[in-house]
């Protein structure tokens, strides 16, 4: 068989297998990125809490911040493949129960991504001018209220390129989860390659599949970015000569 015949053969016989891997990879990357972002935002909010008047609460805050710092260091400082092994087999050893592999996969990607997102969100929060925090405090808003309504919406918009980047990394790096038998695309590729003995052809097809996923995700998030930028035009209601005038204004930042 020629190269192209082999490709056609794999496509015919194994595309269902490979596409189920694509599905799992997208699920892992999507859930991992979203949960990671959520973790990152929560950590960002907790780490920017103003000091409390209550000594006990203050002490508790210090402990929490310390634990968060360790979490971030450990999960950014070790490979995800190793984390997967330790968590999967560690959990089984401690409890005597094997976690379902897909659940383990989702948990591992989420907390791994969370560690990176925590730093990304922190950078995003720092970049918002202090004045907006004070503006919100000065009318009595609580830390959670001002974070939720004022700061985080702006942070999300600013960090979207980094989030998109994490998403792309997750699509590729979830391939390491094959070590705990998560049936994502790379796992399915290994299966196909050993079944058919057509290693090169299998991985050429799989490369194209990865590329299609990452390309789609970057384009989609670029679109979201543009939507989040918001309108640059607004309407002035009424003018000096005519109180009922509606004047459309387009003005750049």
């Amino acid at each position: 068989m020629s190269f192209f015949e082999k490709i056609a053969y794999i496509w015919q016989k194994y595309s269902a297998t490979l596409f189920s891997g694509v599905g799992t990879t997208i699920l892992l990357a999507l859930v991992g990125t979203l949960m990671g972002l959520l973790i990152g935002i929560l950590i960002g909010i907790v780490r920017t809490l103003p000091p409390s008047k209550n000594k006990f609460v203050n002490g508790l805050m210090k402990v929490v911040n310390f634990i968060l710092a360790i979490y971030i260091e450990v999960f950014r400082g070790t490979p995800m493949m190793v984390q997967a092994m330790v968590i999967f087999y560690g959990y089984a050893k401690l409890t005597g129960i094997m976690l379902p592999v897909i659940a383990s996969g989702l948990v591992i990607v989420s907390i791994n991504t969370g560690a990176y997102m925590a730093e990304i969100v922190r950078g995003g929060i720092i970049s918002i001018d202090k004045g907006q925090f004070e503006g919100a405090q000065s009318i009595g808003m609580s830390h959670w209220q001002l974070m939720f309504h004022v700061i985080i919406p702006q942070v999300l918009r600013n960090i979207l390129p980094s989030v998109s980047n994490e998403f792309v990394i997750n699509i590729k790096d979830t391939s390491v989860l094959n070590v705990i038998y998560v049936t994502e695309l790379f796992f399915m590729a290994k299966l196909t390659a050993s079944d058919t003995n057509m290693v090169l052809e299998t991985y050429v097809i799989v490369s194209v599949m990865y590329l299609a996923m990452t390309f789609t995700v970057t384009r989609l998030l670029r679109l979201v970015e543009r939507l989040l930028e918001g309108k640059n035009n607004y309407t002035i209601h009424g003018s000096q000569s005519d109180p009922r005038a509606e004047i459309k204004v387009t003005k750049e930042a």
Partner: protein, 248 residues
């Protein structure tokens, strides 16, 4: 209830070893408009920020209607809805329209309904002449317009006092007038105001009292005509001489 809105006694604020406020005593009555003047670095901003608890005082007492605002049991957030603050840099919420800027505090802190918040916001945006611009975002406004929205944001909380920290210092000269006009209106409507300003004409014409701060203390506290025409403290005279000479 005390007849004073604020009674400040021996207020001290240190930043590390740097003693910035060295014992401030001041009482402010309902409806008074107090202008605070003084050289840069004399502690004017720090003083206002202590009143809003954006800075925690190191020592002394601040009583608001007789209640000590630094007490553990004091409700800071409800206090801040009563004592608004207007900043040099406006500090509007960049992700919200003008209308939303004036609604969000009412909805989240005062738990007002959307309709009620909107009606109240519109009332005050009207008052500061910004009702036409409710759909604009802060980045689409001039400095003077932003500052008027910031004033409306405080007013919409139905505040009783507004602290102004150099509200016109970041503005282009042609926009200073529109903001001062709004402030003059508010002063005449009976709002209690503490205004840190370098606009000596405003201090002279609008305020009921002028305070000269020097090096962390109140060096002189009197009626505007006394401060500007016959100040008793030589430091006041020196400061005014410098400022007014420069201006003219």
């Amino acid at each position: 209830m005390s007849e004073y809105v604020f009674e400040i006694k021996g207020l001290v604020k240190n930043f590390g070893k740097n003693e910035v406020l060295k014992g401030i005593d001041l009482s402010v009555k309902q409806g008074e408009v107090v202008s605070i003047i003084g050289a840069s670095g004399s502690g004017k901003s720090t003083f206002l920020r202590c009143l809003n608890l954006l800075e925690q005082p190191t020592g002394g007492n601040i009583l608001y209607h007789g209640e000590c605002i630094t007490d553990k049991s004091f409700n800071i957030r409800s206090y801040r809805t009563k004592v608004g603050m207007v900043f040099q840099q406006f500090n509007l919420f960049n992700n919200m329209t003008v209308l939303k800027n004036c609604m969000i505090g009412q909805q989240t802190v005062l738990k007002r309904s959307k309709e009620e918040a909107k009606a109240n916001a519109l009332k005050y945006l009207e008052k500061v002449g910004m009702a036409q611009f409710i759909d604009a975002k802060p980045r689409q406004l001039s400095g003077g317009q932003k500052q008027r929205v910031a004033i409306a944001r405080s007013l919409a909380m139905d505040c009783e006092v507004i602290l102004f920290d150099e509200p016109t210092s970041a503005l282009d000269p042609e926009m200073v007038g529109e903001v001062l006009l709004v402030m003059k209106d508010l002063a005449e409507s009976g709002l209690t105001m503490l205004v840190v300003t370098h606009e000596m004409q405003f201090a002279k014409d609008v305020s009921s009292r002028v305070i000269f701060m020097d090096n962390g203390v109140i060096a002189e506290d009197d009626k505007p005509e006394v401060i500007f025409d016959s100040p008793s403290n030589p430091r006041t005279r020196e400061f005014l001489y410098r400022i007014l000479n420069k201006d003219i």
